[in-house]
């Protein structure tokens, strides 16, 4: 119990620190602008691709499939980058990781807390993208879907698995040099391709759709699309054939596996870094 309380305190303090680091350079209006512009620009890029390729407008279920997938993928991308990058930031830039590592707080809880601010920001960004799609582009969004058990449970499980994976990547950063700082973004890029964010997984070549079916994020995006834009779900026959309950069950199991795996990887890397004496090493290039 003491360990859990300590981890919770560490998480809370680190979350406050992360928010301070992310926001102390600008006023709230500027932060808000930046929070919205990046994801909105990325989404508009996809909207234009859709219009160029298909030109069928927002009533087309494929538009909703692509749009909603892109909106929620931004959370995955931001979480993987932000949490994994904490190690680089605190080790190479602020040189504070040695202070955390020599304190009794669990390092994994600290790392997750420190990245929480970016996760929350990305959720706000996703909300803005969806609102923009609904109000400006005519996306047939069902707001009631936001309160459906499938959406709420699916959202929570997906975010948990993203955090688990990000913690694992943060662990890898503990034993690698600074020039690997794009690891989070790189893994996010692979997941962008494989998890059916912008096209149905059936479109993946060379049998890669089998890989897609192993990823919790494939089911996560489906669990979010289905209550919000039910017709978009039909774009992927493979996923459409899965019932809500089964979808949640698969998501729960795969998220638990990824979360546990990420934590185990972090702990193994932390042990290795401590053993090799590189936990607070500056790599300088």
């Amino acid at each position: 119990m003491i360990g859990v309380a300590r981890a919770a305190r560490s998480f809370r303090s680190a979350a406050w620190l992360g928010w301070s680091v992310d926001t102390n350079w600008a006023d709230p209006v500027t932060i808000g602008t930046l929070l919205v512009v990046r994801p909105l620009a990325a989404t508009m890029l996809l909207v234009l691709i859709f219009e160029v390729a298909r030109g069928t407008g927002s009533a087309d279920p494929r538009f909703a499939h692509l749009y909603v997938g892109t909106a929620f993928y931004t959370i995955l991308g931001a979480t993987l980058h932000a949490i994994s990058f904490v190690v680089m930031d605190d080790r190479e830039r602020y040189e504070t990781i040695r202070v955390v590592a020599t304190s009794p707080v669990p390092l994994a809880a600290y790392v997750a807390g420190r990245g929480l601010s970016s996760l929350v920001n990305s959720c706000v960004g996703a909300g803005v993208i969806l609102a923009f799609g609904s109000l400006a582009l005519g996306l047939p969004l069902r707001p009631a879907g936001l309160l459906s058990p499938l959406f709420l449970a699916g959202f929570g499980l997906g975010v948990a698995s993203a955090v688990g994976l990000a913690i694992g990547l943060a662990g890898v950063h503990l034993v690698t040099a600074r020039h690997h700082y794009l690891l989070g973004e790189s893994v996010a890029g692979v997941l962008y391709l494989l998890s059916g964010a912008i096209f149905p997984i059936e479109a993946l070549p060379f049998g890669a759709d089998r890989l897609a079916r192993l990823l919790p994020f494939t089911y996560w995006l489906e669990a979010l699309r289905r209550p919000l834009v039910p017709e978009a779900s039909a774009c992927s026959p493979t996923l459409a054939a899965i019932s809500d309950a089964t979808l949640l069950a698969i998501l729960a199991v795969s998220s638990a596996a990824l979360g546990a795996g990420g934590l185990a990887l972090f702990r193994a890397c932390e042990r290795s870094a401590r053993r090799r004496g590189i936990l607070d090493a500056r790599t300088d290039h």
Partner: protein, 337 residues
Amino acid sequence: MHAIETEGLRRVFRRRRRGLFGSREDEGPAEVVALEGADLVVSEGETFGLLGPNGAGKTTLIKILATLLTPSTGRARVRGFDVESQPLEVRRRIALVSGGEQAGYGILTVREQLWVYTQFHGLPTREVMPRIDAALERFGLADRARSKLSKLSTGERQKMNVIRGFLLQPEVLILDEPTLGLDVSAARAVRVAVREWVREAPARSVLLTTHYMTEADELCDRVAFIHKGRLLACDTPDALKRRVSDRTTYRLETDAAGGPSGDGLLDGIPGVAATASTDPAAGRTRYVLSLADEGAIGEVVSRLSAGGVRIRSLRSERPTLEDVFLAATGEGLGDGA
């Protein structure tokens, strides 16, 4: 021509209230005076020491001379070139080495990194490579020449920084705490190298800041104290120490047991004031001698020897530069502002 010359140099740091796109900046006092009317002349061929506690203004002065910062008012010239209006000419003639410096590209080897630095000065590769190898040998880093920077210890890294200063063959070498992080033998090697480097060419000069008083005493022709942005005393180390006391103190210990004591033997020696205390348990008599002229110590020893007194120990006590700083400011060098 002077190596360095400053006139009424003043630097004020003003806090910015707004950053890029109106972002908030730190709260704090509106302005901080880091340097207040500094007048300084370092001559050609001179090794000049700048001593002061943390926050005294040493680094600010050095940054101005290295063209990294402009003065708020006043002027500074290096080899006759104005640091504000002729920075490129100044940069051609200086090398700045700071203690604890972590600069460099971790992916490069020590040898490569030193070569990259010489390229920033436009030096030809065929000339600098033998010099790099010789310098690495001299500072005991030859076996690390092909090690990546990221693998160096703090001391090895600092040795590399010092080597960089010499390699660039500047006319004015600015050393900011150059022996920070070095062990005793490495620090000694740096001091020897600085001395020899200055002697090699008459136009070379060194501006040194250090916390180590013995280092300043050993290396510097003149030193200046800086405190709260103001330059205080400036003179040769010996002259500064004489300002604290014009008399020399000696402590002398004689064997009081089983022989004659020194009572009365030292009376009447011109310029010598002696106080004695006897410790019967230890069988010793201890004298504190205050000499107006240091040469009188010979007469003291002669009289005691002639009186059959056995001298156990004799040592002089001179004021240190830290004593001088204490007398000038009322604060020790460690009392950072």
